[in-house]
């Protein structure tokens, strides 16, 4: 049976990749047990570097490794991997267009118990703003594995955003990653929902709920940057309007990217995302998603408001 946890799929794929290419190096900042970098650490310790709780140093070290021919993957919770090390990613890595892969694990609100300090709701925005940065938000574990394989095989500075929790796959196991290719996962004719990460599953749930009343197209936009503008325009052009859904602030994330893509094609739009707030601790993932307005019902409501004008 296919893996249903993105972190586990990532770790297992990294280990396979490390076996295939000894130049791949995995770096962790004392969270390898969570990022699943530990799978490499245990099986191939010579291709894993423990950097201690020092994400800034880890990011710059990765830049140096890439300059001597290594392909470093750096792991931590997204708030630390991308947030704490933002300047190092910008200055040490991205300006030089270095071949470094950054994995922001436990992103969004998926680390529900730890609360606001551990919940990355702004990382897509600031990673996306870095010139030439690729930003990938896989929909599920299958796609996380495919994206990891894609990242290892293609040069460039790339950010991979992963969920902490397990949920059912909606993409096919073993399918190659469809880079920069927004993918229709459910056809519909009235409203298009552009979603990424776990919100693709939530959007499918919303489409199901609305079936018979509103025909909803659901599009998995796992490559948030670069964003395939022609495809977005086409998928938004034959419906009444669009909804974006992401486990991220409504400022600067997928919603912003889609709005930028549609700038010459004014389309009624609604954003489902975090409404300029920090997160909170919660006892379950569902609880925090509901609290932050990130459920299928919230998407359905947004679709209805677009549909009804």
């Amino acid at each position: 049976m296919a893996e249903t946890n993105q972190r586990s799929a990532y770790g297992a794929t990294l280990l396979e990749l490390c076996r295939e290419d000894r130049n791949i190096v995995v770096l962790d900042a004392d969270l390898g047990g969570s990022t699943m970098g530990k799978m490499v650490e245990q099986a191939l310790p010579e291709q894993h570097i423990e950097m201690g709780i020092a994400e800034a140093n880890m990011a710059s070290v990765a830049g140096g490794l890439s300059r001597v021919g290594k392909i470093p993957f750096i792991n931590s919770f997204a708030v630390f991997a991308a947030g704490r090390a933002y300047d190092q990613i910008r200055q040490s890595i991205a300006i030089g267009k270095l071949n470094v892969k950054i994995c922001g694990s436990s992103a969004g609100c998926s680390d529900f118990g730890d609360g606001a300090t551990h919940q990355a709701i702004d990382d897509i925005a600031y990673m996306r703003a870095i010139p030439h940065m690729t930003v990938i938000v896989p929909a599920d574990a299958n796609e996380a594995a495919a994206a990891t394989r894609f990242m290892a095989a293609n040069p460039g500075t790339m950010y991979l955003r992963l969920n902490r929790n397990s949920y059912e796959n909606i993409t096919e196991e073993g399918a190659p990653f469809r880079f920069n290719e927004p993918t229709v996962v459910r056809e519909g004719t009235d409203v298009t929902v552009f979603a990424c990460g776990v919100m693709v599953s939530k959007a499918l749930e919303a489409a199901e709920k609305l079936q018979g009343r509103i025909s909803v197209r659901v599009v998995n936009v796992s490559t948030v940057k670069p964003l395939n503008r022609e495809k977005i325009m086409a998928l938004a052009g034959d419906v009444r309007g669009v909804v974006t859904a992401e486990e991220h602030s409504i400022i600067g994330g997928l919603g912003g990217a889609v709005a930028e893509a549609l700038r010459r094609q004014p389309t009624p739009m609604e954003f489902v995302g975090v409404n300029d707030e920090f997160g909170s601790s919660a006892h379950s993932y569902d609880e925090i998603l509901n609290y932050m307005g990130l459920t299928a019902d919230h998407i359905a409501e947004a679709v209805e408001s677009i549909y009804n004008g």
Binding site: G52, V68, I95
Partner: protein, 273 residues
């Protein structure tokens, strides 16, 4: 110490040339990092014309040593060394900071001989550590040298890198600290003291060598000693004078990044003749 007088005096002459290149490049009326360039000029002369292995016609040559200027604001000094070493024409130096030109205000990947971009202080040592670890993984003998400023020691990342480098036994890594005692806004002792540097680097697990950063014989001896020292990375703490070689700029905070007047420009070149 067994170094020939010819070697030492030729390196001293190189250092003087680098300082002259820096002044000619900065010119009159435009701000430039005179002070920190001149404090590090002897160190860079020894690195580029004595210690580092490189092929200026093939900057990406696999056998090269790596030099990173973590105190990237004195890029003009490194550009002067690279130009004098043949990486690109000396005649291009005055075009530094022209829009779109390959000589940017801070080191930029893509300029021949520049290994990484630097400028956000505190990151160069980590970048160098990454190179050192990667080279060790492949069993390669190349060495990595990183010049860091003393004001730069304020940055916490320096100490993250220092801790990690000794933990990983990165003895192919050498940090050279340009200890001129001044930072942008004043004396280190008045702004944010970083002493005792030797004690701190030693406590972080490094082999520490202290030298007069303007004594060429001491510089080359320290670089040689760092290369043969095994088991720990080496920190060379070079005691220097900011603005060294230009009488009116020596030890003057104001010359961190300042424009020269016509008279100052002429006097500086006369003193460096």
């Amino acid at each position: 110490m067994g170094y020939s007088k010819e070697l030492i005096s030729s390196l001293e002459e190189r250092a003087k040339t680098l300082r002259r290149d820096v002044i000619e490049c900065i010119g009159v009326g435009v701000a430039g990092h005179v002070g920190g360039s001149c404090s590090a000029a002897d160190l860079l002369a020894a690195l580029y014309f004595y210690k580092l292995k490189y092929d200026s016609k093939n900057p990406e040559w696999e056998g090269r040593d790596y030099f990173l200027l973590s105190k990237g604001h004195v890029a003009i000094l490194q550009y002067s060394a690279l130009a004098e070493a043949g990486f690109f024409p000396v005649a291009d130096l005055p075009r530094c900071k022209e829009v779109g030109f390959y000589l940017q205000g801070h080191p930029h990947l893509g300029t021949p001989g520049i290994e990484v971009g630097t400028g956000s202080l505190g990151q160069g040592l980590s970048l160098g550590l990454g190179m050192a670890l990667g080279l060790k993984m492949d069993g390669k003998p190349n060495r990595v040298y990183v010049m860091v400023g003393d004001g730069e020691q304020d940055e916490g990342q320096i100490w993250e890198a220092a801790m990690a480098a000794s933990a990983k036994n990165a003895d192919n890594l050498c940090a050279i600290i340009d200890n001129n005692g001044l930072q942008a806004q004043g004396k280190l002792t008045d702004r944010l003291p970083v002493e005792p540097l030797a004690g701190r680097w030693s406590a972080f697990g490094w082999n520490v060598i202290e030298i007069d950063g303007h004594n060429m014989e001491e510089i080359v001896a320290a670089l040689d000693a760092a290369e043969t020292y095994k088991g720990k990375p080496t920190a060379i703490i070079a005691h220097t004078v900011k603005g060294k070689g230009i009488s009116f700029a020596e030890n003057q905070v104001g010359f961190h990044n300042r424009a020269l007047t016509e008279d100052e420009y002429r006097q500086a070149l006369a003193e460096l003749a």
